[in-house]
């Protein structure tokens, strides 16, 4: 009997150990191929070159053109999701009655469950033609549509998680503010938001991390032209789009071109890994605050 118990515990442990293997697998794959890549391309060129043209005859490996595309679309998305999401969170928490919140929150969360390829379709074939009427010079593939639609996609991350954070603030704080004669608006912005700030920051970091790693929306709607630009009407290429682009083409395996996706992948991984750890760190501080 005791042996059986031990065997079962061992099996269950192995199940959870698979997640550690996954992490090691990701690190191993990204590092081993990137090391081969950086033995041929200098890391300084990688970080400082202004062009990314590994698939052309004149090869340049400046990752910054992909990073700038990624940051531009992410920035536009946050510009949509942060004010909208935070306002919705405050409204649901402070103004709306419970029944309204219980209906609206799940509806908004549907936005997060829609497959991203659907958003890509919407960005390319609905949002872009609509915006082109306002900006005739806008390219058919552009950072603006992709970023706006991505903002809608991450909206529920900000609104729902921020609402959770606001709800976790002790009732006594709000009642004290009301007792001093504050309006709901003052209570929300001078008491509740500062008190829930760490939870709200976590929600925004998670949303940024989602946007940076998002692939299909930008692969469909933002284009495949890596360039250093801040103009949202132009076509750009993100890190994720580049990985998809190379995967779909027929680049010979074990070539330098093939290894570029690992160098791009590790750049992406560094970004999201850093963001996730910042959010873990903020969350830990936040828990201490109320206990």
């Amino acid at each position: 009997m005791r042996i059986r118990e031990k065997i079962i515990e061992g099996l269950l442990f192995l199940c959870s150990a698979i997640t550690v293997l996954t992490t090691f697998g990701i690190l191993f794959v990204l590092l081993s191929e990137s090391i081969k890549f950086f033995s041929e391309v200098s890391i300084i060129d990688f970080l400082t070159d202004k062009e990314w043209t590994p698939l052309f005859a004149d090869k340049q490996f400046g990752i910054m053109s992909l990073v700038s595309g990624t940051l531009l679309t992410t920035f536009i998305a946050i510009l949509v999701a942060l004010p909208l999401g935070l306002t919705i969170a405050v409204y649901l928490n402070e103004y709306a009655d419970r029944r309204f919140t219980e209906v609206v929150k799940p509806i908004l969360e549907i936005l997060a469950s829609i497959p991203t390829v659907v958003y890509g379709f919407f960005a390319l074939l609905f949002v872009t033609p609509m915006l082109q009427q306002a900006f005739p010079s806008m390219s058919g593939f552009n950072a603006l549509s992709a970023g706006l639609v991505m903002g809608v996609m991450i909206l529920p991350y900000v609104s729902s998680l921020s609402e959770d954070a606001l709800r976790a603030v002790p009732k006594s704080l709000r009642e004290a503010a009301y007792g001093m004669g504050s309006t709901k608006f003052q209570t929300a912005f001078r008491v509740m938001i500062p008190a829930a700030s760490s939870g709200i920051i976590v929600s925004v970091i998670l949303a940024i991390s989602r946007a940076i790693g998002e692939t299909m929306i930008v692969a469909i709607a933002a284009g495949q032209e890596p360039k250093l630009t801040l103009n949202p009407l132009e076509s750009v290429e993100t890190i994720t789009t580049y990985i998809v682009q190379v995967s779909m083409g027929d680049v010979p395996r074990d070539s330098l071109e093939y290894r570029t996706i690992f160098a791009a992948g590790i750049t992406l991984f560094v970004f999201t890994f850093a963001l996730n750890n910042i959010s873990v760190w903020v969350r830990k501080k936040y828990q201490q605050k109320y206990e």
């Binding site: 997640t19 992490t23 999201t272």
Partner: protein
């Protein structure tokens, strides 16, 4: 106007602004659904579901993509469910206090934040190339299984955590071993919560596109897969391909395929929400 009146006006203005913001979020969802339906609803037919892909948009269908998707989901479920539930049980019931378990926990929260396209790179290198599984269904299923494991583990843990301690203690007091307690007491009473998490994880797998493209899933598959080692395509990849074609006919096909994909996702999410509500009520009452 005194300051308290100004404050009241600010309060009212914000209320209106906030209602507009909330309405905007819901409106976009409405516009998206309307846009897709207006473009694709007329194209939906039994032939569309049963036809093979073709160069001519009017003759194209999603038969192979649907078939590939069902194959892929069944394999992903077979691989990920036992491992995910097992890992969740271990972390919640056995390894709560040891250092290894805490390391695994941090690790899982990090994995949940890794972009799906990176899982694609992992699958491409490890399953496709090193294990020589090629761009087969099995490679796709293994990759997706790793991708949804964090979701399954986290929801299993939450469901198991919600089981009252008194139930466990009653079982142990009757002389049951730990595993007997887990199997006969903990699992049955956390079943609803675990199932909810499993369905949500599958709903996520249904919509994944990028990792499958990266592992080498094909865009054009004129045959249905017969076994786990066959090449395949899935609905989201088919949609991606049609969306990026210039001909209007393929855009209509993409919209129709999106309607099918959304029905799948909403159906799965609906079941999950329904089960979660029912399970919570049972747990409370």
């Amino acid at each position: 106007m005194n300051s308290s009146q100004i404050n009241r006006i600010k309060d009212q203005l914000f209320r209106i602004f906030a209602i507009l913001c909330t309405a905007a979020g819901i409106l976009v969802l409405g516009v998206l659904l309307y846009d897709v339906c207006s473009k694709g609803l007329d194209r939906l037919s039994w032939e569309f579901l049963a036809n093979l892909p073709s160069r001519f948009p009017e003759k194209s269908g999603i038969y192979t993509a649907l078939y590939g998707m069902v194959w892929l989901l069944v394999l992903t479920i077979l691989i990920s469910f036992p491992i995910g539930i097992g890992a969740g049980l271990y972390l919640e019931e056995y390894g709560k206090r040891n250092r290894m378990a805490r390391f695994i926990e941090v690790n899982i929260s990090n994995l949940a934040g890794v972009p799906s396209v990176i899982y694609g790179i992992l699958g491409l290198q490890i399953f496709n190339r090193m294990l020589h599984l090629g761009n087969s269904l099995l490679t796709g299923a293994l990759t997706l299984a790793l991708l949804i494991l964090p979701v399954i583990i986290v929801s299993t843990r939450e469901a198991v955590k919600a089981v009252p301690k008194s139930l466990r203690e009653a079982s142990l007091a009757l002389g049951a071993t730990k595993w007997q307690t887990i199997r006969r007491v903990v699992l049955p009473s956390s079943f609803g919560g675990i199932i909810t998490g499993l369905i949500l994880s599958i709903s996520r797998a249904v919509g994944e596109t990028a990792p499958l493209i990266v592992i080498g899933a094909l865009v054009y598959v004129p045959f249905v897969p017969r076994g786990p080692m066959d090449e395949f395509t899935v609905l989201p990849i088919q949609i991606f391909n049609w969306t990026t074609r210039p001909q209007q006919g393929f855009v209509i096909n993409a919209a129709a395929a999106i309607i099918v994909l959304l029905i799948f996702t909403f159906f799965l999410n609906g079941i999950a929400v329904y089960l979660r509500n029912r399970w919570y009520r049972k747990l409370k009452g």
